[in-house]
């Protein structure tokens, strides 16, 4: 049995992106759910399964049920970091296909910017890393970047090109948090944090929430918005701690991407628009390689010359990504919402003409969990 095309996203919304002064993480989450239900034309009382994962509330699924005031048949709270939500969509598709749920809400929200100004996390340093005080999670990604540069000759400039491309997209997105011009030189001159990564290689610290409503494909057409179908999903978990990652240049995206594309019956060349979890610039290079958009080791050269920027061959992170649009601690949901908007043709100046197939990719932990979703319009069924 394949999940291809069996379920669809019928509602999507953002809430509180940027700065949401005076609001709690769960309030932002609920506001996003409220928006997604309205977008879907679905009543709260119809929701019978929910999914979330929040950084500090380990029982956030229970809090969500309580604050929504519902008694769901299924409460998914599986935690793999920022990739969790792309796993939730797969579980949602399974529940819907099996007839165990009718309407699934997947959501997230965080007030980390206005509440603390930095990443809020319940994750401590691992026992065998703590004595050396790596910055969490930054140093883990810095180690991966160093290894990629050592092994493949990836350059400082190529890392910068990822951030410059994201900013280019953000400048076309009125909802993006940072829209000032950004050049290669600006990135390379920015403050060094954990060598080789500099502050402009790092995602933003913002507030923000997002929510999706999923229903079975045969009823998805009854909703006001064009359905965005779940065509394929896959996961890969290779480690928790960076010191346990077998090869810092190969992520679980190689497994998750292949599984998702096999389920969807597509290849990288078919994808119209790509949303990658860009917590750090190196992520985009690694994921483009592992997902098959270029060969291993060639990701640095691939992102040169504006290839993933507006006007380039491959549109990547068209909202501006975690680097320039929004990054409230976990970014996975935002890859999905931007893909839904692109596939509905609702993204204004940054719209990719004729976008029918989108790839969303989530990252959790320190390159630890990788989850890929393929989404498509009715034309791709």
């Amino acid at each position: 049995m394949s999940l291809r095309g069996k379920a669809a996203i019928v509602g999507a919304a953002l809430a509180g992106c940027g700065e949401a002064h005076g609001r709690t993480s769960m309030e932002i989450t609920i506001e996003a759910v409220h928006g997604a239900l309205a977008d879907a034309g679905v009543k709260l009382s119809q929701v019978d399964a929910i999914a979330t994962c929040q950084p500090l509330d380990l029982l956030s699924g229970l809090t969500l049920a309580q604050e929504l005031g519902i008694n769901p048949k299924f409460t998914m709270n599986n935690r793999m970091g920022g990739s969790s939500f792309l796993s939730h969509t797969m579980w949602a598709a399974m529940l819907l296909e099996l007839g165990l749920a009718e309407t699934v809400v997947i959501c997230y929200g965080s007030n980390q910017r206005t509440a603390s100004g930095k990443l809020m996390t319940a994750i401590g340093l691992p026992t065998y890393e703590a004595p050396y005080k790596p910055m969490f999670p930054l140093s883990s990604y810095a180690l991966a970047a160093d290894r990629h540069m050592h092994q493949f000759g990836t350059t400082r400039e190529q890392l910068a090109d990822v951030a410059v491309a994201a900013r280019g997209w953000a400048q076309k997105n009125p909802e993006a948090f940072v829209r000032d011009p950004l050049t290669r030189e600006d990135v390379i001159a920015s403050r060094l944090i954990s060598d080789p990564l500099r502050v402009r290689d790092c995602c933003l610290v913002t507030d923000g929430g997002a929510a999706l409503v999923m229903r079975r494909a045969e009823v998805a057409v009854d909703h006001p918005q064009p359905p965005v179908y779940f065509l394929g999903g896959g996961e890969g978990t290779t480690h928790r701690d960076i010191s346990e990652m077998a090869d810092l240049t190969v992520t679980g995206a190689a497994q998750s991407g292949a599984a998702a594309m096999a389920m969807a019956g597509v290849s990288a060349a078919d994808i119209d628009v790509v949303q990658l979890y860009d917590a750090f610039t190196i992520n985009v290079i690694l994921f483009l390689e592992d997902l098959g958009f270029c060969k291993k080791g060639e990701g640095g050269a691939f992102v040169e010359g504006g290839r993933i920027a507006p006007g380039g061959d491959l549109p990547v992170n068209t909202n501006g990504g975690g680097l320039s649009c929004v990054h409230p601690g976990m970014y996975g949901m935002f890859t999905l919402v931007e893909a839904v908007r692109q596939l509905r043709g609702q993204t204004g100046e940054r719209q990719i003409d004729g976008a029918e197939l989108a790839l969303c990719h989530g990252n959790g932990g320190v390159l630890s969990s990788q989850v890929t979703n393929i989404l498509g319009t009715a034309a791709t069924l």
Binding site: K133, P134, S194, P196, L248
Partner: protein, 132 residues
């Protein structure tokens, strides 16, 4: 039905005790001979529970490095590295006795017992050339 009983302190506690006594040991699997770090109850290669402690050669190669930049008044910059030991296992550590700019990925290093960032016993490394 099986009740799987392991005797005494677990691998983490045993490693910590050995390290406190000034020794560095890694595990080796009695069934598949794989070396294992960090310590754990069963072999990640073959699943065997027949693990024992062995002394590694201490020879290693820097697999990846980063310099954490920190204000001088907070203690200044320090390095964090991943080292591949000759036995085929990897660990996080710090390289001592060398300027940050001179630490290179691929550099040969030698293990010793030093201190972690909070003064606790920890395995650290020095460049092999300097150690000779």
């Amino acid at each position: 039905m099986t009740t799987n009983t392991f005797e005494g302190p677990g691998p983490d506690a045993q490693f910590a005790e050995i390290l406190s006594a000034g020794d560095f040991r890694i595990q080796r699997c009695g069934d598949c001979n794989a070396h294992i770090f960090h310590p754990r109850p069963i072999c990640p290669e073959c699943g065997s529970g027949d693990l024992s402690w062995v002394a590694p050669s201490g020879d290693g190669t820097i697999y990846a490095k980063t310099i954490v930049h920190r204000r001088a008044e907070k203690g200044g910059d320090y390095n964090v590295v991943l080292v591949d030991l000759a036995e085929g296992v990897r660990m996080m550590s710090r390289v001592e006795g060398v300027e940050p700019a001179d630490i290179t990925t691929g550099m040969a290093v030698q293990a010793s017992i030093g201190e972690g960032m909070n003064g606790e016993p920890a395995v650290v490394f020095t460049p092999t050339e300097a150690a000779k």
